[in-house]
Assembly symmetry: D2
Homo-oligomer: 347 residues x 4
Amino acid sequence: LRIKAGIVGGTGYTGVELLRLLLQHPHVELKTITSRKEAGTPVSAMFPGLRGRVDLAFTEPGAAALRDCEVVFFATPNGVAMTEARALLDAGARVIDLSADFRIRDLAVWERWYKARHAAPELVAEAVYGLCELNRERIRGARLVANPGCYPTATQLGFLPLVEAGAVDLEHLIADAKSGVSGAGRKADLHLSFSEAADNFMAYSVPGHRHWPEICQGLAQAAGREVGLVFTAHLTPLIRGIHATLYARVTREIDFQQLFEKRYALEPFVDVMPPGSHPDTRSVRAANTCRLAVHRPPESAHRSDTLVVLSVIDNLVKGASGQAVQNMNLMFGLPETAGLGHLPVVP
Amino acid sequence: LRIKAGIVGGTGYTGVELLRLLLQHPHVELKTITSRKEAGTPVSAMFPGLRGRVDLAFTEPGAAALRDCEVVFFATPNGVAMTEARALLDAGARVIDLSADFRIRDLAVWERWYKARHAAPELVAEAVYGLCELNRERIRGARLVANPGCYPTATQLGFLPLVEAGAVDLEHLIADAKSGVSGAGRKADLHLSFSEAADNFMAYSVPGHRHWPEICQGLAQAAGREVGLVFTAHLTPLIRGIHATLYARVTREIDFQQLFEKRYALEPFVDVMPPGSHPDTRSVRAANTCRLAVHRPPESAHRSDTLVVLSVIDNLVKGASGQAVQNMNLMFGLPETAGLGHLPVVP
Amino acid sequence: LRIKAGIVGGTGYTGVELLRLLLQHPHVELKTITSRKEAGTPVSAMFPGLRGRVDLAFTEPGAAALRDCEVVFFATPNGVAMTEARALLDAGARVIDLSADFRIRDLAVWERWYKARHAAPELVAEAVYGLCELNRERIRGARLVANPGCYPTATQLGFLPLVEAGAVDLEHLIADAKSGVSGAGRKADLHLSFSEAADNFMAYSVPGHRHWPEICQGLAQAAGREVGLVFTAHLTPLIRGIHATLYARVTREIDFQQLFEKRYALEPFVDVMPPGSHPDTRSVRAANTCRLAVHRPPESAHRSDTLVVLSVIDNLVKGASGQAVQNMNLMFGLPETAGLGHLPVVP
Amino acid sequence: LRIKAGIVGGTGYTGVELLRLLLQHPHVELKTITSRKEAGTPVSAMFPGLRGRVDLAFTEPGAAALRDCEVVFFATPNGVAMTEARALLDAGARVIDLSADFRIRDLAVWERWYKARHAAPELVAEAVYGLCELNRERIRGARLVANPGCYPTATQLGFLPLVEAGAVDLEHLIADAKSGVSGAGRKADLHLSFSEAADNFMAYSVPGHRHWPEICQGLAQAAGREVGLVFTAHLTPLIRGIHATLYARVTREIDFQQLFEKRYALEPFVDVMPPGSHPDTRSVRAANTCRLAVHRPPESAHRSDTLVVLSVIDNLVKGASGQAVQNMNLMFGLPETAGLGHLPVVP
């Protein structure tokens, strides 16, 4: 079985990470990869690491070749997939969108945060939010999957057991999240330059980050009610990796370690570490894994009523392209782990 | 006026940073610097950056030379100052201890966290906690100053206005703090090696960090009552810099921006940034400054009741050696800013 | 076909990289991994990135389990393999030594540079130097392979075509090589700590580096005569990667681009880039590839008679563990590329 | 004495470094700083590290304010100073140009490498090349100084003693130079972004770098004849710092250590390290110092006839803005070290 796959917008980091994963996937045949700007350029000229491993050149988007694909990944900026997905779906392809176009079900919320008018409201209604650990069954049957954002993946996986169990104060969740620079994409921005971002650390978008409504929506789905969340994003001098430090006030005492272990016992890509652990981002570097640890600090006379959950992912794998492949595996009835067994690269 | 100064234990990062600051201080004459391990080695042989700028060699600790100093800085591991400070004080010197020996007033707490028996309880009672913005007047008259830790400096300066104003829930403060690697000192530890710490991010000591009781003590002093705090430390791939992201639940609505601006209006080394700012650690690199920003996220339909304060310092300057010099300036009646005007090094 | 493999000394970086490669190799069954210091510790407790992927614990070295292995890798410090290889060979195992014990054929040279008496001179005579591109046929039949050092791999592959063609001045080769910090191994050395090595660059061992005689030996074999080489090593703030910039004086004008392309046309792991290229280390990160580019600078009125060759490898893969697996593949008649198809991780 | 100074183009890295140095210079009053793009923006809004330390806002270039300055620094892209310097000189100001406009005396060479027509050939004839250690006396009397490039500073200072002594083969000099990313300027280029440049190493412009003719010109001046040089530039993941590794074939045996020590004995900003040293870039970080070490590798049976010189500078200080201030000091009869005593920031 070889699924014919296409990538729209293959020159960004999620695009090239899809290339890395799909070219090594046992059940995928990469048929086409588009880029308006680089049409005609051999893929291996742009990414020398792929020399000798891929013969394709970038083609114009909208090229007929995409229509022959069984699955098309959008690794494009926001606003592209919502205008192009319809035609591909009509042609019979399944679509996995790594951008934010189909992630928010409430159109008004989407339009407020993304400052645009949505081009395909009816597809928003159809799209399934592709957090496999939350929506596995619905993903299997989906034609259109909205692949989650990187912060939302790390944050939701860390909060899900607590929210589902209703054991914490849902009004006052705090997510203090730190991201490597690749999370901002492959682009020429001054503040992302090495001289600015190296040996430096800062918060950003504290007044409001686009991933905030996405996280709230997912947690609300799990909770069956609205949640209150403060989300703080930070730029960290690493290339890949997200570390989310999550705080929740306990409202019902249970064995939280056990809660997490049970919740994720059967999940191939979520690893609940032993008590006392501090997962580091490199333990998931280049791998499709989320590692979690549950803490109850501090060790002092009186125990705190605040729970601390540590959650790490590689933003380009479990936070983007790896999760997209995981979604594809589900949609096509493949083993969920197919092509996703890469061990992390350490050191 | 030239104060005769000595440094005990000058081979660590706080020691060499003291060297950098004292050698450029207009009112200091560095008389001696000790190191048991490096006795006899010229200082400039160990730190080539000081070639041509310092003629001293390291001497044995306890050498008579220290007794001629008017001020002695301890840049030693915990446990040294408490055994050696008495003799220097008796000889008429003032002592500024950069280690943790005199920071905690409650001996039982100190002994629990530092796993040792305290050698000079009576000096603990005398010592003044050297957070200048909190204890300025008492520092002026002190013989013995306990220089604050790096995390405690960033965290306390960020929380102080809120705690003093009694405008937030003092039971549930959260400090999510990120430190550069130099905060761990100049030592050969595997987990601090470049191959382990670069391109990596992790929390550590989540079950209990030694700076937690120190922060709690300082905030309790400011509040006039005990406080509840969850403190999470993270290791970040930068050399210098601490970024503390602080969360507090508002209990009384006031103008928090104004609160901070007023509180620190006369402070030469605390900079309250304009609303909406995100101070980065490099904006204080190699400078004795703490920059703060106050946020009320998220920008959404309903305002959160959680306040977010961003606080950055250079852990080796305002978080250690710069603050020690600031304390010395106060103790000797010098202008508080003398020798501390270095601009940050950017980029 | 599953080869039973063992690793001696599996806690260093070449050891854990062997783990990464062997655990994903289709024709290998990892039977045992030893570590004197960590005996009893589950491998996945030490390397959390391997959680769920390996059940072994470290065992005492010399344990009987090694004798059942068909191939044993020594990922030990220098001096171990030379005392333990004999028994394993006698028991019928093949041995691939990643240390320097069997790399130098001239015992006097070895003993001068490694400051020890060699424990197994007769094995030195038998051992095959495992630079596959130089000694492929002899490796196929070898019982004992001396896996090349990282600098020697990058340097020899860059010089080989020139030396074999006799087209450059063999008396005055210059190799200016830059290595990531992992090349120094997984150890707690102050000068390798993040605070020392990050945002810093320096040469080291300029008066004499142990890899110098190894490179000279390999080039002399290719040239059929002694060569003169100046070799300069530099420590660079990257984790993985070697970049060797090689200079040779042209003595006979030929088409050097073509020379390189022909020499490596059939090599699966050497990539000669198009004219004008500047390979970067990340293009081979985590991959078993050496990329080369040939330059003739400067573009000026008169052409220089100096050729510049750029050579990049991942020091832990093609410069160590990947090459070891490549050697194993040759020794056991497997496809040379088996288990070595991992694409580089970019960014 | 306070010299009235202006900066044209103050938003790049050499501009902000000039700000850092001039704001702390005892004999300078910064009167104006221009930026076409940022006119009206307070300097401290763009560079928060300067908050509270500078009241100026960026002004339109060409503003009258510049005419009142006694010295004007051009920290602009190439091509600006050559069109604007004339008017300032006519108004009586001295001009120090940190760009390349006046560095190359041979107009044809300049125009070939900078791909433009020179706008002020007569000023090229007048300009003095501001390598203080080479042209000190002429700089004292200069109206217009061409401040050297960063690579040329490190390379020339390392080669000068050898070239002046005529003790090496002047036809075959090799400079293998590595630069931190700030050397490329403060700009939004993809290949300078953190995700591209971190944990990566590469050569660039090997076929021809603009600093090559500048170095050749300076060495030719010192030699009294043309020289042959191969120059290779590399991009290194540090922010500041250049490490040049220089190779020269000895043609006359002398005591090279002594040669260097004598040549630079009176130079305040060139430090010849003891034999066997390996200067690292951080030993000059943020300082106006060049450190040099002389080696004769390898330690082997027969001594090599190749000399290796290691040269490190901070590209933004001794390689740009610090050297510019040094030139200003010379031009205005100030102590050469005024305002340049900052110790390096380590770690």
